[in-house]
């Protein structure tokens, strides 16, 4: 946690049974250290959550002036909105935002977090609450405010600004049930890569079961980031298997737009014959004909709130000698409201 002592190179050296100089050499590429020693030192560093600091030698006490953020995809208006909110929120502080994208790969997130930590960010923002074990350790030992966003992790590392993906999707399921739908399907992604998408699927199907409905109409093997094209193909497969489906929720608006286009091409009227809903309030959902019912997760506000949480944490550290953990829970665990936006694509009453 941020209040905890950061591991030093001396700690790593002690654990590995070598000199600090050997640690210094071993943790840099292209240096003369045996593979066995290098592996032992790496294991010790990993265990302690120690990160080589690229600037430490030269600028030990100087502030680096940047905030790091990892996002799953750079081709996604939702994460772009969060990044914009964060940039705007940090504007007056002079802190610059630098982004890394993980391509929905937790191993890549770990590499990026390590690369960022070497440069001593003032704070680090990650998307989601799922990380590799080593990445969790790196973040927990980072010694700077850490904000997990877009999620409500059961065991937060530090600060959180997010919402429950499962609850937001359950809300959409209840909306479709209220509109009289009984044969309802879900189009989603490979949950191993997109854990937030998997949470939506879980929440949606759970709400169907709570309503006494079947929850087996599922096409959920798409590779994130899920494109419009994949959404269209998934709709074709869904309708081939369960042709009497009357309502579909897609894991995002992009896939919903593709899925709706595929239905319209087959001559299925939306929403009269088939209701289609998405997630994320992308502008394509608003412009589409018919406009697509969606969930607005307030992506921009997540960024603004994350900036506020970071600035408060940094101010708190400066003010009371670094005991950031003293800040009350309500200020460090922020929930944004995911709002249902009912539109034409689910209008009217089924049957």
């Amino acid at each position: 946690m941020p209040g905890q002592q950061k591991p030093t190179m001396a700690d790593v050296a002690q654990l590995a049974g070598v000199s600090p100089m050997t640690v210094s050499r071993a943790l840099r590429p292209n240096t003369a250290v045996s593979a066995e020693t290098r592996a032992r030192i790496r294991a010790a560093a990993d265990e302690l959550g120690y990160v080589v600091d690229g600037t430490a030698a030269a600028f030990a006490s100087r502030r680096s002036g940047f905030v790091a953020m990892t996002i799953p995809s750079i081709n996604n208006a939702n994460f772009a909105d969060t990044a914009r909110g964060l940039t705007e929120g940090l504007l007056d502080s002079g802190l610059q935002l630098l982004l890394g994208y993980t391509d929905y790969d937790l191993a890549e997130e770990e590499r990026l977090v390590e690369a960022f930590l070497r440069r001593r960010p003032e704070a680090i923002v990650v998307t989601g609450g799922a990380h590799t074990a080593r990445c969790r350790r790196l973040l927990a030992n980072a010694g700077v405010p850490v904000v997990e966003t877009w999620d409500q992790p059961a065991a937060p590392i530090d600060r959180v600004v997010g919402f429950s993906n499962a609850e937001a999707a359950a809300r959409m399921a209840r909306h479709l049930v209220e509109r009289g739908h009984r044969r309802i399907a879900f189009i989603g992604g490979n949950g191993a890569r997109d854990t937030r998408g998997a949470d939506r699927q879980r929440g949606f199907l759970g709400a169907l079961r709570d309503a006494g409905l079947a929850s087996d109409r599922l096409v959920a093997d798409l590779d994130p980031p899920i494109s419009m094209h994949q959404g269209a193909a998934a709709m074709e497969r869904l309708l081939a298997r369960w042709p009497d489906t009357t309502a579909v929720m897609c894991v995002s608006d992009l896939s919903a737009f593709g899925a709706m286009t595929a239905a319209l091409r087959r001559g299925l009227a939306v929403p009269e014959r088939l209701a289609v809903a998405g997630f994320g309030a992308y502008d394509v959902a608003e412009i589409a004909l018919p406009a697509i019912t969606t969930i607005d997760v307030q992506a921009h506000r997540i960024g603004v709130e994350a900036a506020r949480v970071i600035l408060e944490a940094l101010a708190g550290e400066a003010g009371d000698g670094g005991d950031a953990d003293a800040v009350a829970d309500r200020d460090t665990q922020v929930t944004v409201t995911a709002r249902l936006l009912p539109r034409a694509s689910t209008a009217g009453h089924a049957g």
């Binding site: 003369a32 250290v33 600037t55 750079i74 208006a77 990044a83 982004l99 690369a115 094209h229 608003e286």
Partner: protein
């Protein structure tokens, strides 16, 4: 194992990889002639073995990090995402990490970022476009860090440049539309000065119509390059008198928003009005009717650029500027060729 770098020779790498010396050389210089899988394997082996060509020792010593720092104007644009995604595989195989900054189309912000990044001694910097603050350019020219300018071309790159000729692409679309008999063209884009590439395309389009004695109307919207901006711009353009007979949008996303606006206004496309975009974005794959557009090789551009950049990082000087082809793709939103 404990050997000093430099004592490993190219033939050692070739033997370990089971390939010819020429293949190792090609792989490490980033030139054509080896598969990407082989290149990745050789690059990895060479790094593991600590192989460093002697004449590159200087540049390798300078690159104290494995970071490639990329500046893009916005994340609200699939183009940069696709280019970076194309670069990513090659960079990752070469052991490089990428970090990204968004300049929000501000040269001043880009310049401030460049200052910070130079202090980090990154392996390389990647900039969007070829229009930068003169001071930033001067800093980069003397920084000794490989610099790649991407998505546009110039006869005077800072270092390396891989892109397309936007003016020529706009002119090609202009000649196509003029050839279909359109005579009241309007360009729909964002505030002038924000996106230099889009301005070049609009200028190219205007030139092509000028050859027919036709002036280009312009409808600018103060907003991001989004579906909604296209929607708003089209609505405003349709209110003009005389009404334009063809709308050329900044990109396919704006064009799709504009297409929806035309249909919402009760106009038939292409019967009453033509719609053309730019880029061949993947939204075109799912639209009921394909947009008329120009297809740009974004993924390929990223791959090619990354290969050249890796070569530059390893101390080889590739061709400084590479212009990639743009293909005009007539769709169902403009008149058919044979109908004049």
């Amino acid at each position: 194992m404990g050997r000093e770098p430099g004592t490993v020779r190219i033939e050692d790498v070739a033997r370990a990889a089971g390939v010819s010396i020429m293949s190792v050389s090609r792989a490490l210089r980033g030139v054509e002639g080896v598969s990407e899988a082989t290149r990745a394997r050789i690059t990895r082996l060479a790094a593991e073995m600590g192989y460093a060509p002697s004449r590159l020792a200087g540049s390798l010593a300078r690159a104290t990090s494995n970071l490639v720092c990329i500046s893009v104007p916005t994340l609200f644009d699939a183009v940069f995402a696709e280019i970076i995604s194309g670069m990513r595989v090659t960079l990752t195989h070469a052991g490089l990490e990428t970090i990204i900054e968004t300049s929000d189309y501000s040269r001043a912000r880009e310049a401030a970022w460049i200052e910070r990044m130079i202090k980090w001694s990154p392996a390389a910097l990647v900039l969007s476009g070829v229009d930068h603050a003169p001071k930033a350019r001067a800093r980069l020219e003397s920084a000794g860090i490989p610099v790649l300018e991407i998505w546009d071309v110039t006869p005077r790159p800072i270092d390396l440049c891989v892109g397309i000729d936007h003016r020529a692409a706009g002119a090609a679309m202009g000649r196509h539309l003029a050839g279909l008999g359109y005579r009241r063209p309007a360009y729909i884009g964002i505030r002038p000065g924000r996106d230099p590439r889009a301005e070049k395309r609009a200028a190219g389009l205007a030139e092509a119509f000028a050859e027919h004695g036709v002036a280009l109307a312009q409808q600018r919207v103060d907003g991001p390059p989004s579906f909604e901006t296209g929607h708003i711009g089209a609505r405003r353009a349709l209110a003009r008198s005389p009404r334009p007979d063809v709308l050329y949008f900044l990109n396919d996303h704006l064009a799709f928003g504009g297409l929806m606006a035309c249909e919402a206004a009760g106009l038939s496309v292409p019967g009453d009005i033509g719609v053309a975009g730019f880029n061949g974005l993947n939204i075109n794959d799912v639209l009921p009717r394909r947009l008329t557009t120009s297809e740009t090789p974004r993924e390929q551009m990223g791959k090619t650029a990354a290969r050249l950049l890796v070569a530059a990082i390893r101390g080889v000087r590739p061709e400084p500027c590479l212009a990639m082809p743009v293909a005009l793709a007539p769709g169902a939103t403009t008149r058919a060729i044979l109908r004049a």
